[in-house]
């Protein structure tokens, strides 16, 4: 896949996910209308309308504000703030990070993304935003501490590739909508606990009654399974992407060895990244939760692991370096 195809595919998938999300909410609302309002004899489809409005608003909010929400949730601090309160030797390190980001922005021919530091000692990083003109890169303090300049450059190049091929747009919207689904499903379950829906007393419509029950059961299953499906979706969109971003990152630095050795260091740090929560896991360069599932390849891993096995990624990068991919 070339860059243009990647961008096109990401644009399409973003639309697909937004439409699926709104449609899903509509179905939830429709169910609410049929089983609660409809039973009471109402004619106005309140549930459907509210669900449709809610879906559209949260999709828009996710598109325009998803990056800020993700950054806020992971306690990311803007570079300017961190720099202002840093000591002299720390300033050197931070300035180095700024320079490395500038270098990679130049190499990719993109504007410089906003830069954030997450006060967490586990090495990790992610990029978010809705496109190259509205992009942010967040790096944990731990990453800054363990990596040397060359390795830092590799990681930033990896993130810059996510920015360039619009992965960030898709992953941010997935993060925002998966969060919304989880929240709504929780509400759905609570409302079910409080009130049992009334059945129609219309005996003349028995066939419709059976169908109604089937639809009602499907509706319940949808509510219960929604967060799980949303989670699997988030995982699926991120797995192949990491290999791609590794490769195009190496193309930017012309130095696959830098990223390979950075990944080795990140892999060696076993502690989970506490400040990055589950919702943003699929956006990170390495799984912040440190799950076992990521070690394996196969169907189940494709469904539920957010990241490809680190060893395979490192091996692929080393092979690139061996083939002379580092010499332009």
């Amino acid at each position: 896949m070339n860059l243009y195809e990647q961008q096109l595919s990401n644009r399409r998938k973003t639309w697909l996910i937004v439409i699926t999300f709104v449609a899903f909410l509509f179905v939830l609302g429709l169910g609410f209308d049929t089983f609660y309002i409809g039973a009471a004899g109402g004619v106005v489809p309140v549930g459907s309308l509210v669900a449709l409005a809610l879906g559209s608003v949260s999709a828009l909010a996710g598109y325009y504000g998803g990056d800020r929400a993700v950054l806020l949730a992971s306690h990311a601090q803007p570079m300017a703030d961190v720099m202002a309160s840093a000591g002299d030797s720390d300033k050197l390190k931070l300035r180095q990070l700024e320079n490395v980001v500038d270098e990679m922005a130049i190499a990719a021919g993109l504007p410089r993304p906003a830069l954030y530091v997450i006060p967490d000692s586990d090495p990790n990083a992610f990029a978010t935003g809705r496109g190259p003109d509205h992009a942010s890169i967040a790096i944990t303090r731990g990453l800054l501490d363990v990596l040397n300049r060359e390795e830092l450059q590799g990681v930033v190049a990896h993130e810059m590739s996510h920015v360039r091929n619009l992965d960030i747009r898709l992953m941010t919207i997935v993060a925002a909508l998966a969060g919304a689904v989880a929240l709504l499903s929780e509400w759905g379950r609570l409302s079910m606990r409080w009130g049992t829906p009334r059945r129609r007393d219309d005996d003349g419509d028995r066939g419709g009654g059976v169908l109604g029950i089937v639809v009602f059961v499907l509706w319940l299953i949808a509510i219960v399974l929604a967060p799980l499906i949303a989670q699997a979706l988030a995982m699926m969109v991120s797995r192949r992407r990491e290999y791609l971003a590794d490769a195009s990152g190496a193309e930017l630095t012309r130095n696959p060895g830098g990223l390979a050795s950075a990944l080795e260091k990140i892999d060696a740090a076993v502690a989970p990244t506490e400040l990055i929560n589950r919702g943003a896991a699929h956006m990170c360069i390495a799984d912040p939760l440190g799950r076992q599932m990521n070690l394996r390849e196969g169907f189940l891993s494709d469904l539920f692991a957010s990241h490809p096995p680190m060893a395979a990624r490192i091996a692929a990068l080393k092979e690139m370096a061996f083939q002379g991919g580092g010499v332009s």
Partner: protein, 187 residues
């Protein structure tokens, strides 16, 4: 019927012609912009050098020759004309800087000086930026050149005044070896 077909073909050709022309213009502007970015970074490097020389002058008084060599190489690089000339003179400047940093190794006060360390980081970053700006320029200029040379665009690209852009090449063996400006590596 035949006339309609002919009209259709002519319209298609005109649309294609306009699209190709606009694409070439866009690419030419991108290439020019890529070229400007290199200049921006080179200018920055030239601006940083006097600061560095001033910061180390006190401690490295014995190495007056090296410092003068750096300043002379900088002056030459600033007056370079054309890409080939610039590439060669910037290469010489890099070498002069490399020698300066190698000598600075012998001065522990310099190695531990935060100001010097910061300047060194800025200079090596600028050096990288020059390199990456060139890399980006080469990539985009290659695309521009290819777009001009493929059939059938090549039929009219020349007549409309599009010229292939010159690529950066590493001219001499000495320039190929980029000097490392990393004090900590040897320590």
């Amino acid at each position: 019927m035949f006339g309609l077909l002919l009209l259709g073909i002519v319209v298609l050709l005109v649309v294609w012609g306009i699209a190709s022309y606009n694409r070439l213009i866009t690419m030419r502007n991108q290439t020019l912009n890529g070229w400007k970015q290199i200049d921006v970074q080179l200018k920055r490097r030239h601006d940083l050098i006097p600061n560095l020389v001033n910061a180390v002058k006190g401690s490295m008084d014995f190495e007056r020759d090296t410092l003068t060599a750096v300043m002379e190489a900088r002056a030459k690089a600033q007056t370079a004309t054309g890409p080939a000339d610039a590439a060669q003179k910037e290469g010489q400047l890099s070498q002069a800087l490399g020698r300066l940093f190698a000598l600075a190794e012998n001065y522990p006060t310099l190695k531990s000086n935060d100001n010097v360390k910061m300047l060194q980081e800025e200079l090596s970053a600028t050096e990288n930026k020059v390199g990456f700006a060139r890399q980006f320029y080469n990539d985009i200029a290659t695309k521009f050149n290819t777009a001009q040379q493929v059939f059938p665009t090549n039929i009219f690209a020349g007549t409309l005044g599009f010229k292939p852009s010159e690529l950066f090449e590493i001219t001499s063996e000495a320039d190929r070896a980029v000097p490392t400006v990393d004090l900590s590596r040897h320590a």
